[in-house]
Symmetry: C2
Subunit: 512 residues, 2 copies
């Protein structure tokens, strides 16, 4: 389909549209500058730099808020309500309107208070986790729950407050739809995992542990090699190390990070491929729409669909290991005896007793998420109290995963998200995986013999399909529209459930 350039059609746009876009570009530039400051803070900054960096970030954050909530933005948006706009222009206005409405509805004192609460909660969470003492974190979590209820009330007093919070991360995917997908996942995966454990074949799990340690430098070389193989454009990106892997940037400069564990070469590898997936989305956004909604990614689930697609559907596939294993052996000759089948099995094993989300596998991962989703919904609605969280957490782990944490440090204190007051974020991880399966199935339908391209190390057809069907649209379409546009179907769990049923059925020799 034809893409009209934001710039090129500016002449035919109403004056208010042109001005609105100019202001929005400033907002985006300030946010992108803040993004770089944050990347630097996590990757390059000497530790002493924090006091200045936090003030710089706070100034940029308040400036972008002031620019976005300027009266002239509101006036331009009002004027454009009845204007004659192209579809793209209408999409731009819709996106800016949504951000504007949300930004003006929350008093800046409350934003300030939430920010302060986060700053105080973070060290308390770190201490609570280190000392395995939930009571240190509990009052901060309580504070966050109260502030976030108040926040949601300002935005829409008539809506379920959790729904409002979810919209911070997923503004155009109905919570009801998200919840029904997560319910389906739970209802299918819990029995499937039980069946794997009870009836599944033994698979090889030691392909990458039996040969001892893997030096960090060599792992890094391998990650760089894999990024090049996958088509990462180094002239628009870089790979660094950080304590938590992440990706950031724009279509011009989409950086990724990873981390290394010398006992686990798959960890750095899959996190690199995962972040590569995020980066491809940023890189696929159209250059000419930089700093406008047409040059921005859709929300978290769609972003996560890109990382999961590359991590799971490509990175954990046998076709890809056909390319990867020889490279792995080049960098690690000691893995010479590992067979393709062993590598595939090790990369796809379902863990028996893992309590930690970030160390989990493609199946159990979603139950880690669903536990958090159910707890945070209940917390915000008041169905449970903060003090109940550890018990409810442990019960749900027992119910869904058949394991019970012995400490809160490896239970409800394991993740950082709630210390930031982020409620509604976790579900987007699973939704992204589900969307990845749907997109990948559509790509398989559209691209002739996609698997054999991957087996040959040719990732270009997949890049092209994703760019054409997802990336190039920026935020032009809302989430469901985008999925329909790309796959011809509503966003749903079917493809994901088919994918895991077939894959893990084959792998563990069960008829799930």
């Amino acid at each position: 389909m034809a893409t009209e350039a934001t710039g090129a059609d500016a002449e035919s746009a109403p004056e208010a549209y042109t001005q609105l876009l100019q202001t929005y570009k400033r907002v985006s530039n300030v946010r992108n500058a803040a993004g770089l400051l944050s990347w630097d803070q996590q990757v390059m900054m000497p530790e002493g730099g924090n006091p200045a960096r936090s003030q710089q970030l706070s100034t940029l954050s308040s400036l972008s808020h002031e620019l976005l909530t300027d009266d002239e933005v509101g006036e331009a948006l009002d004027e454009l309500e009845d204007a004659d706009l192209t579809d793209e222009q209408a999409g731009v206005v819709r996106e800016i309107r949504r951000k504007y409405d949300r930004a003006v509805s929350v008093p800046s004192e409350l934003v300030e208070e939430i920010s302060t609460a986060s700053s105080e909660a973070l060290p308390a969470w770190e201490k609570a986790k280190a000392e395995n003492d939930f009571s240190i974190f509990a009052p901060h979590l309580q504070k966050h729950v109260e502030l976030k209820r108040e926040y949601a009330e300002h935005i829409d007093p008539d809506k379920d407050p959790y729904e409002v919070l979810f919209e911070d991360f997923e503004p155009c995917l109905p919570l009801e739809q998200a919840e029904s997908i997560l319910d389906e996942l739970r209802d299918t995966l819990v029995p499937m995992i039980t069946q794997i454990r009870e009836e599944g074949d033994d698979i090889a799990t030691d392909a990458f542990t039996r040969a001892g340690e893997y030096p960090e430098e060599d792992q890094e070389e391998l990650c760089r090699d894999v990024l090049s193989t996958l088509g990462y454009p180094w002239e628009r990106g870089r790979l660094d190390t950080s304590s938590h892997p992440f990706s950031s940037g724009t279509m011009f400069d989409a950086r990724v990070t990873t981390r290394f564990d010398e006992t686990d070469p798959l960890g750095s590898l899959f996190s690199t491929v995962h972040e590569f997936g995020h980066a491809t989305y940023n890189l696929g956004l159209p250059d000419e729409h930089y700093a406008t909604p047409l040059g921005e990614s859709r929300d978290l689930s769609v972003h996560e669909s890109q990382s999961r697609l590359w991590e799971n559907h490509v990175g954990r596939s046998k076709a890809f290991w056909n390319v990867l294993l020889p490279k792995f052996k080049e960098h690690f000759p000691k893995a010479e005896d590992v067979t393709l089948e062993e590598a595939y099995e090790a990369a796809n094993q379902v863990y028996e007793d893992n309590l930690i989300r970030v160390e989990s596998d493609e199946l159990t991962y979603h139950l880690h998420i669903i536990v958090r989703f159910e707890i945070e919904r209940a917390l915000i609605s008041g169905d449970i109290d903060v003090e109940d969280v550890p018990e409810v957490w442990n019960d749900k782990y027992e119910e869904y995963l058949g394991i019970r944490p012995e400490t809160d440090s490896e239970g409800c204190l394991q993740d950082i998200h709630w210390s930031h007051g982020n409620f509604g974020y976790f579900p987007t991880y699973s939704l992204g995986s589900v969307m990845a399966a749907q997109l990948y199935a559509a790509a398989e339908d559209d691209v002739d013999d996609l698997e054999s391209h991957i087996e040959d190390g040719d990732f270009e057809p997949l890049h092209e399909w994703l760019t054409e069907n997802v990336h190039q649209h920026g935020a032009r379409y809302e989430t469901n529209e985008l999925v329909v546009e790309a796959t011809g179907e509503d966003f749903a769990a079917d493809d994901f459930l088919d994918y895991v049923t077939e894959k893990y059925g084959d792998l563990y020799g069960i008829d799930a």
Copy 2:
């Protein structure tokens, strides 16, 4: 002396002062954010990132301008004219007033026009230099001269326009004083250099060239070692590589860069020590005054005095080489036979036929600067035309240095500064050297046996003297006040001329 904290005495400050300082902190934070973006652009950014980075920088630049020129800033400044302020508060108001007055007096269209002219001049200068064709650059230089005259006219139509331009870099040092110092330098150095060439002893120059090449990795290790030895606090800094060495940042995060030439280990070493000197200034500014004028360095000459002091008075001294040479040999065992005397002579040789400023020595350097200063003054005043520049340049090189460039690429096209429209910048380099000598002489008077501390690798007494007498004051004092405060004397060339006369007299066995 006691330092009142900008924050601590805020309670006793007029409301207008508190508000002014709040706004100024936002301006500083935006500028510091831009500083980090610029550091990243030169050190880390993948090449493809430029289109987005330049838009981000442009947005931050216009935002900081808008914040500074806000009507409320002008009103607060007016209100504070007759307010009862402490000396420190008065210094803060004076600094903000100066920046405000300048910022509001230039129409933003002209600022925009100058910025566009720079963007166009830079590639033209690169091409002109590469093709040794001044005519490619000439129209751009002409444009800059005209725009900068217009710029100066807006700021003060009654002043010599060059003086106004000089104030952009050196707002509180009279041009007349600067010029008289530069004249003294020229009048002393030209005959001194001639005498060295005609009557000077032969000195050893091959200490670091006779052993072949010095691998980049080893040079980098040496530079890190030297930075640690000098007392660089790694928790507030980092060393990286860039095509032109520079330093940037704040007291919390003062980074340096260097560059490597495998045939010239002294190049990376001295540029590292030079940038270290700049960094010590930023690091010595008081933490509690971050983002206010009391936490900002005085202007370019003072900043350059710190880099030159460490580069020349420490880095090129025999006392320091007593510490450095053993380290050098640790990293480069092939230099094992180099004696202290040879090293000192090689590090201080006066070049016979060097045409390039950035490759020059401690003496001839200033004649490179004086040529540029005299030409840019004459250009702005209209005493010479752009088309005369190559001829005038070559004549002056012949007159002052006894060498004549054969091409404009190694003549008037060698530096980037004029392509940015920076007139008035060059002199600050020499003024910095002169100030370094005056400060170092005062430190020698104040610190018991400073030389033997350095000989022992103990740089703490010098750091303490500089912090107490220069760094801690931020921009509280104007330049001459600061020099008097630190040295008890007006800023003048005497100490510098004594220093070079004695040092080079000894080195070359002449009675200069």
